[in-house]
């Protein structure tokens, strides 16, 4: 359950307030895969970041009993001079994993990312594709209730992309995703329900198709 209570969020553009949410009170049921729909600049990514706890409403409160992932695809604050393993270990540490869990998680990331010997080399030697793979592997290595995905569903070459999709679909069996995407096809395929973000209002649709129909009217 995500509870929004009188939530207002705006950006100041040339001293003019541009509203993303204007005094929105809404309860969004979770437990289903949720797609966020809206035009460019409607504030989809901002909404996702607010759920991820790294952006904040100007007023009002957002409450939730769901453990959200960090927004996937955002480059994860890698320290270039440290190795992929060291960077991953750092995240494991502050997530409070035990020694054994850290070692398991690192093995998973090592295995999933297919970085091979690069996993033990400084991140600054990585190509952007390799960074993306490490990033994706790290998101998948942690068990969250809900994965926040901003556009990026898969990274790497064709084979790796297929692996990403497969893993995500498997994960969806007992966890959920919250997806920002511009492709209506992808949204229909990946999500069950939808949230439409438009002109500072937020509306919830139990069926993603209804949300898309509504979106196409505007």
């Amino acid at each position: 359950m995500i509870n929004l209570k009188n939530v207002t969020k705006y950006y100041k553009v040339n001293d003019e307030k541009k509203y993303i949410l204007k005094n929105v009170t809404l309860t969004i049921p979770t437990g289903t895969n949720l797609g966020i729909i809206g035009r460019n600049g409607a504030g989809k990514s901002t909404f996702l970041r607010m759920l991820g706890g790294i952006d904040f409403p100007n007023s009002g409160r957002i409450e939730s009993d769901v453990r959200f992932s960090w927004p996937m695809g955002l480059s994860g604050g890698f320290q270039g001079s440290l190795t992929g393993r060291e960077n991953a270990k750092f995240v494991c540490r502050f997530y409070g994993l035990s020694k054994r869990d850290i070692s398991n998680t690192l093995n998973y990331i090592d295995d999933f990312s297919e970085l091979g010997k690069y996993f033990d080399m400084p991140i600054k030697t990585y190509s952007s594709g390799m960074r993306g793979r490490l990033n994706f592997a790290m998101s998948m290595a942690f068990e969250f209730d809900c994965y926040l995905i901003d556009e990026l569903l898969a990274v790497g070459d064709k084979n790796f992309k297929e692996k990403c999709a497969k893993t995500l679909n498997e994960r969806k069996k007992n966890k959920t995703i919250l997806l920002v995407n511009h492709s209506m096809g992808t949204l229909k395929k990946m999500c069950d329900s939808g949230v439409l973000l438009e002109n500072g209002t937020l509306s919830y649709f139990e069926n993603i198709n209804d949300a898309i129909v509504e979106y196409e009217k505007i």
């Binding site: 790294i54 904040f56 927004p71 890698f78 540490r93 409070g96």
Partner: protein, 259 residues
Amino acid sequence: MNKRSSWEIQKAVVTSLFLRELKTRFGKQKFGYFWAIVEPAAIIVVFWVMFGFSMRKSTTGIDFPMFLMTGMVPFQLFSKIVNRSMVSFQANRGLFNYRQVKPIDTIIARVLVECLVYFIVFNIFILIGFLLGFNARVDNILGLLFIMIELIFFSSGFGLICAAIGHFSETFIKVIGLIMRPLFFCSGIYFTVEIVPEQFRSLLLINPLLHFLEKIRSVYFESFYSPYASDTYILLWTVSLTIISLWLYTKLQNKIIAS
């Protein structure tokens, strides 16, 4: 993964950041530890050669190299804490994508690293002092510990304020950089307040660092008495900077994360 209290989370974050900083700063190729010792040592030697002959033990009752050392190390600690804190938000920006990592944690971790480094450096210099036959005994260890803790809070508070304001203004960081340089020359690293001509004393004594250094020497060496270092002035600066910095930070925290 169980639900953790915010204190547990912060502890885990600071610990992991601390280890990460150590690894980054003092990785194999970087000679980080080496420089932490060589830099102040080089300055001490230069000043020793420059002033050593004119400034005799009699003026302060302290061996001149020890006099320099007890000024250099605390000053370096201050300046490193401020400089490292100041750019900490910028350097760790990508980490704020993880909701567990609060900007202030990155500063706490950096301050802890500097404290560890300069604790070791201080001890090495004391040891070298003994080996060279100087009077290097700390006369009031508890007093020294207390004033050093005050210095750490003072520096961190100052660093946090600079970081918070500097996050929104590049110019501010540059201005602070400009202020830091003359501080080296007017904080009493190589002189005592006593030898400053009387008409300049009150002006120089506005600088809290001068109070800190005089005070540090007077607890380190029983023979050194400073009527100028004011405990109240030091405490006032320390407490105000700590409170103001935390107040400012809480106001700006969310903006810093979201920006």
